[in-house]
């Protein structure tokens, strides 16, 4: 059997074995949905960073970095994604966890207690998660099928079977632990393979690419993109990442607030650290082997042809990790939405703990089967959905969530209208542009228009309609729910002297100081070598 096929089989088997072993920890629904809130800093950092780094980074954006330059997306678009991740963790995720949400849908249910709001939010979430997840699975699966010379349907069946095992057997436990395993593989790509490729190319030669490809080390890149396009990328990524369930929900399994705060520093540090190392390595590939077509294979060519066989295997495992870590999170959340938010809450089924876990497991199997069938069939509709799927959270959810968290006047009518106007106008304006009916000025796109329309509708209806007594009561209650107070209370309950609390408090400061030193050192080094 070919070595690449061995790696593929062994890596999948390792994830499945670990996830199967974790099944013994699932005793109730809290274990299944939020791993009993036992997530440590390493685990939550691992799942956050692995979910953040998808095949889009390793292939799509790496391809743009290879052909146009690392700054084209890296300088502004990715910066938006990093800041969006910070907002998702430290503000939205942390606040929702304080409200004891196990899924993001819990937030809509508790804040508004309105079936229409819940139904629309649920539909948007399922479409957004599945559309974004399946298209990534298809894209990366096609490349992987070519590398290891296995038919595409076999790859998809193997992936979805593995996902089915670790999502249905061990729920969030399986996803968080396997994500953390994948995180270490991705770290190997960022901090072992990428530096090797950069070293092979030589920093001077990498810097000299600007002479061969004018604009390579500028924001506009070798293709001379407009500044408006770069700003638009920044907005798209910050709005999308700030409220995407894939990132926000990573906070829910955290053990306490100190874990969240450490993840906000360490996890958010790894977002640029992993991405920029890959972008620079993609630039290095332009020195080592120009003319790779299609450009999104640049990193794969780097792994397979310019490292030793062991590292090529790690690179392949990393590519699989980038696909599976993002897909597992997206699909486990879709399963949770079907079991918990649709079946249990919207259909008002009162289930015992045991049956609740069973419903969760069945829905994971259903989601895996649906994903498998759609990915293999590749209907034209899925490509259409994918154009809008990822960004739908930015236009439909973000204004609603921000208003619901911060504004007393937020009400169900305004939330519902915002979600509908935001999502529908996003699709309508996108389709009008796609069919050349209208065109927008440079730097303006349908996402910005939809975001403004949705937000304007929300604000107008918040002023026009009065919040119900339930909404007012929930708002006041929500304001009083603080992660810090919950964490302080729990620590003092277990250790009245406060010694453990003080120790954890100090640890966060130490982590902060250490990460600031590392960040200054790492980015300072690259700036001096490439920018001076």
């Amino acid at each position: 059997m070919d070595i690449t096929l061995w790696i593929f089989v062994l890596v999948l088997a390792a994830y499945v074995i670990v996830a199967a072993g974790l099944t013994r920890f699932i005793r109730n629904s809290a274990d299944f949905y939020v791993m009993g809130e036992r997530g440590s800093t390493v685990l939550i950092t691992g799942t956050l960073a692995a979910t953040f780094l998808s095949a889009v980074t390793l292939m799509g954006i790496a391809g743009i970095s290879y052909s146009e330059g690392p700054l084209v997306i890296g300088a502004l678009g990715s910066f938006g994604a990093w800041l969006g991740t910070l907002v998702a963790v430290v503000w939205i995720g942390r606040k929702m966890k304080a409200m004891e949400c196990r899924t993001m849908m819990d937030f809509f249910d508790r804040r508004f207690n309105n079936k229409w709001v819940s139904v629309v939010a649920l539909i948007l979430m399922v479409i957004g998660l599945l559309g974004y997840g399946i298209i990534q699975l298809i894209g990366a699966g096609l490349v992987l099928a070519e590398i290891i010379d296995v038919p595409f349907p076999v790859i998809i069946v193997a992936f979805t079977a593995a996902l089915m095992v670790f999502c249905s057997l061990s729920g969030m436990y399986g996803v968080v632990y396997t994500d953390t395993m994948m995180f270490f593989t991705l770290l190997a790509i960022a901090f072992v393979i990428s530096p090797m490729l950069i070293d092979q190319a030589g920093l001077e030669n990498l810097r000299g690419l600007g002479e061969r490809l004018p604009g390579y080390w500028t924001l506009a890149g070798a293709d001379d993109r407009s500044l408006g396009w770069s700003i638009s990328q920044f907005l798209v990524w910050i709005l999308f990442f700030a409220c995407t369930p894939a990132l926000v929900s990573r906070v829910f399994p955290a053990k306490n607030d100190f874990v969240i705060l450490k993840v906000a520093i360490v996890g958010v540090f790894f977002a640029p650290a992993m991405q920029l190392m890959v972008y620079l390595a993609a630039g290095a590939m332009q020195v080592i082997q120009p003319g790779i077509e299609p450009a999104d294979r640049a990193m794969i060519v780097g792994f397979m042809d310019h490292t030793n066989p062991v590292l090529a295997g790690v690179g392949l495992a990393g590519l699989m990790a980038s696909i599976m870590s993002t897909a597992s999170t997206l699909f486990v959340l879709t399963g949770f939405a079907l079991a918990r938010d649709l079946y249990e809450k919207l259909f008002e089924k009162r289930l015992s703990e045991k049956r609740s876990v069973l419903a969760g497991r069945i829905s994971q199997i259903v989601v895996s089967l649906i994903v498998c069938v759609i990915a293999i069939a590749r209907p034209a509709g899925i490509y259409w959905i994918s154009i809008y799927a990822g960004s739908i959270f930015a236009v439909a959810w973000l204004p609603t969530i921000v208003a619901a968290m911060t504004w007393r006047r937020a009400n169900a009518t305004a939330a519902l209208a915002c979600m509908l106007v935001g999502s529908i106008s996003f699709i309508v304006f996108g389709e009008l542009e796609r069919h050349d009916v209208i065109s927008y000025p440079a730097g303006i796109d349908n996402l910005m228009i939809a975001f403004v329309l949705g937000t304007a509708t929300l604000v107008a209806l918040c002023y026009a309609c009065r919040p119900s007594s339930y909404e007012l009561a929930r708002y006041e209650e929500m304001k009083g729910q603080r992660m810090a107070e919950i964490t302080i209370g729990r620590f003092l309950d277990s250790d009245a002297s406060g010694a453990t609390l003080i120790r954890e408090y100090r640890r966060v400061w130490w982590v902060m100081a250490a990460m600031l030193v590392i960040a200054f050192g790492l980015w300072g080094f690259f700036f001096v070598r490439l920018g001076l």
Binding site: F79, T218, L261, I265, G498, M512, M515, A519
Partner: protein, 49 residues
């Protein structure tokens, strides 16, 4: 020396991300935890006396 402001922007933004996340966490620690930590330290010191 051949200063490239775009490269500064790339790595500066990466650094800024850690600086911002640290600043946000520092504000949370100081506003939401420090009063309790100080109280606990004072109580512990008084107990020792």
């Amino acid at each position: 020396m051949d200063f490239n402001p775009y490269v500064l922007m790339l790595f500066g933004n990466a650094l800024l991300t850690t600086v911002i996340s640290s600043a946000v966490v520092a504000v949370i620690l100081l506003r939401e935890y420090r009063p309790t930590i100080r109280r606990l330290k004072q109580t512990n010191t008084a107990d020792r006396r």
